[in-house]
Amino acid sequence: MSTRRDRLRTFAAIVVLGFGVAAPVVAQSPTPAPQPWDTFFDDTVVHEIRLAINSKDWQSLQIHYLDNTYYPSDFRWRDQVVRNVGIRSRGTGSRSGVKPGLRVDFNRYVTDQVFLGLKSFILRNQTQDASNMHERLSMLLFRRLGLPASREAHTKLYINNNYEGLYTIVESVDKTFLQETFDENDGYLYKYDYPSDAQPYYFEDRGSNPDTYVPLPFKPETHETDPRPEFIVQLVQAINQTGDAAFRMVMAEYLDLKKFVQHVAVENFVADNDGFLSDWGGMNNFYFYRFQNKKLFTFIAWDKSEAFKGGYEYSIFHNITNGPNASKNRLMTRALSYPDLYSAYLDALLDCARSAAEQATGVTDGPGWLEREVQREYEQIRDAARSDPQKLFTNDEFEQAVSALGAFARHRGDFVTAAVSAARAQR
């Protein structure tokens, strides 16, 4: 489910960049009102965030980085100061005591306190990404294709006036995000939380006991005291128990399957092996939102640190057709068994390729959007990344990772387009 704003943006981009002549029309189209937090996610600059925190708290946070304990802090961005915010270590595989990923909560200690309308945001530490760009590039592509995803920008983080490294500001998936994205926020939001020691899960039927789904792996993020897990049970049973004849009709109540395959296609295009079709745990890294007063769910992308690592030759059917049946995702397998959804999946991959290859205005034979974006971000963050005192990668590894991203951007579209053609020919 995309925002009206994103749909408009996508439409405008297609019109402007595809046909070139429609700019005056787009300019006259109604544009969404600017949000107060737009400047905070302005990705044309590297921001600077300063946190003042008791020195012992910062040490404690680093030592106990596996713990979710909040620490009080004063937050400064540009000339704006927010006092008494709460920060804590966050992340799963990216957790680090050297360079902690942080969640910043403005309303942790002061109820209803917000910053530019935001209740919280994430400072991603990029400890799994030498390029520092996987996350931001992926989310941009999701948004370009009209799929819900967080906005992101890079920032230099200072703790007690000491530079602690290059981070990515990530928009929290919370009620503010839901309101902006879906024009409502009173539905039921879950974060898919895959415990590292849990059995892999592929949306198979675990029975009718709601406890096997909520609070893990579907962790309630809203309505925590009354998370209504029965709708997830119904969805899972619909996936697993509905006959072929009724499947589409029954599932339409729970999921927009075309949007779903589009979500998976974008993850596949960016070669994310830790998304909905994860190499680890079966499924991973998404939020799941059930609209208010409906049974309808939608996926929201999350954490694309592992994207691009599979290289530009990452199979478009990775974890779809390969592997044993027991480890194939039940929902994806059933969805792609329908020719129109199979075709929609391939179309979505081609959309990704087209978006990645999109030329700059007035240019016909230059680098595509993705390659330009890699270069733009690299130039933005290069100095901050190289001088990052807590980075977990060497500067050479950073440069090599950026080069690999450039190669990915140049070749991924062609590879995917060829693979889609081959898939269609075989069908």
Partner: protein, 486 residues
């Protein structure tokens, strides 16, 4: 199980004697020493009981007196108040059990009413609140000992301990009391830090289902240490002073380590005993000083929670330096009536606890309560409540109405001069947060072993944003407790 216990207790109404062991009647053993007044025989008995005076952690606790040993050689088994093994004057071993089972209710979703070990929050009507067993006794009447263990405490998992959570001991009172010098007895082991009238009243003797907020959350409770204590003027003046490893279990929780080495002293007096005022008035005061470390990475300050529902209305703040406590109390009894009042003040140092490592003003916690009781069936007030005529034994038991009004609140010294009030654990000016509670109840002591307590509790958390009720209003909780004491 409860029915079986009842049968066993009723069957044990008599005394089983093996060998040369004797026991005196229940009426005598329940008389506090100060009440024995006239006649040589009674004076002699009073003197005898005074020698067996309650330790400071069980003020006015007739249970702990037990039947006086008449002495004599030989081994015997007695069951009067407790099953007891004795070997003349050389050795005594009493077996004790205290079981408290609750049925409770409050507003929907109250965290304190949740069933244990449930994936999703589920309210439980019944709770096994306390199930304690123990032994106590003495050697040669000069060395008392006591061991008590709680059977219902949940142990922490390895993961909890790795996360820095503090284990709560299942061992309660584990100590010896050496009383070669009556006026300077020495107690060593784990027992209650001598602080707080309500806290020092045995949980099975309390007038209410739950102790006061101040006793529960800012009084020390039990700890390991050593103490010298004694009394003068037939308990007209008592004192206790000791050193403890920490500052008691009440200041600790799963996440809070609490204070470190603690010195404590308490003194009580009955100043009007000879003046002839109505009833007995005891006044007491106590203080403790503890060192406070910021070594734990979690805030180490005191925490405020509601009584039954366990809503946290004040989260611990970061502290370092010293924790100073002071309390004053008064305890009045006259015939079937009694009244108690207590005020407690705590100040926690906050050295280098600001965001910029600067010193912050002391964090404070204060509490008070006033409580009154009246025995409708006319018995003289004592703790525990005892019936002149036991239920189904020719009487109805003792019925008592009780009431208590109290407040517990937290803030910091310095006021608004040091900054805007805030709820953060490093706020220079801590936003005040408190809880006011009114408890009304009825106690029914059926016999020496069984007591039923009915309490209705109205609470109002003062900080509307920490109030569990939307709109910031008051809420009622109800609890019925069945208590069995062996």
């Amino acid at each position: 199980m409860i029915a079986s216990l009842l049968v066993v207790m009723l069957a044990s109404e008599g005394v089983t004697t093996v060998g040369a062991v004797h026991a005196v009647g229940a009426a005598l053993q329940q008389d506090p020493p100060a009440q024995a007044t006239s006649g040589k025989k009674q004076k002699k008995k009073a003197k005898k009981l005074a020698a067996d005076a309650p330790s400071p952690d069980e003020i006015d606790d007739p249970d702990s007196d037990g039947p006086p040993d008449i002495g004599g050689p030989g081994f015997g088994v007695v069951w009067k108040q407790h099953p007891s093994i004795r070997f003349g004057d050389a050795f005594r071993l009493d077996f004790e059990a205290r079981l408290q089972e609750d049925a409770h209710g409050s507003y929907r979703g109250a965290p304190g009413l949740n069933c244990p070990n449930q994936v999703l929050p589920t309210t439980c009507l019944f709770q096994l609140h306390r199930n304690r067993v123990g032994v106590k006794g003495n050697f040669f009447k000069k060395i008392d000992y006591e061991v008590e263990r709680e059977l219902t405490e949940q142990e922490l998992s390895d993961k909890d301990i790795l996360l820095g959570y503090t284990p709560k001991s299942q061992w309660k009172d584990v100590n010896v009391n050496i009383k070669y010098m009556k006026k300077a007895q020495i107690q060593v082991g784990k027992f209650k830090v001598p602080f707080g009238l309500d806290e020092l009243t045995s949980v099975s003797h309390n007038d209410f289902v739950y102790r006061s907020l101040g006793a529960n959350y800012i009084n020390p409770g039990r700890d390991i240490g050593g103490m010298v204590h004694g009394s003068y003027f037939k308990h007209g003046l008592t004192y206790a002073a000791g050193v403890f490893r920490h500052d008691g279990g009440n200041a600790r929780s799963k996440k809070v380590q609490g204070g470190d080495q603690t010195v404590a002293a308490r003194i009580t007096a009955a100043p009007f005993r000879r003046v002839g005022l109505a009833g007995n008035i005891d006044v007491g005061t106590a203080l403790t000083v503890s060192s406070l470390s910021d070594d734990p990475y979690l805030p180490n300050g005191l925490r405020g929670r509601t009584i039954l529902t366990q809503d946290t209305f004040f989260q611990p703040v970061y502290v370092k330096g010293h924790r100073k406590r002071w309390e004053a109390d008064v305890d009045w009894t006259a015939g079937p009536a009694s009244a108690r009042a207590e005020y407690t003040w705590v100040a926690d140092g906050r050295v280098q606890q600001g965001l910029g490592d600067e010193n912050l003003p002391d964090a404070r916690a204060r509490s008070w309560y006033v409580a009154g009781t009246w025995i409708l069936t006319g018995e003289r007030k004592r703790r525990p409540l005892r019936a002149d005529g036991e239920f189904l034994q020719g009487g109805f038991g003792a019925v008592e109405v009780v009431g208590r009004y109290e407040r517990l609140w937290f803030d910091s010294a310095g006021g608004t001069e040091v900054g805007t009030p805030s709820r953060t654990p490093r706020a220079a000016n801590i936003l005040p947060s408190g809880d006011r509670a009114l408890t009304l109840g009825v106690n029914w002591a059926l016999n020496r072993w069984i007591k039923l307590q009915f309490n209705g509790i109205r609470e109002h958390v003062e900080d509307s944003q920490r109030n569990p009720i939307s709109g910031g209003g008051a809420f009622w909780s109800q609890v019925t407790r069945l208590q069995l004491v062996l």
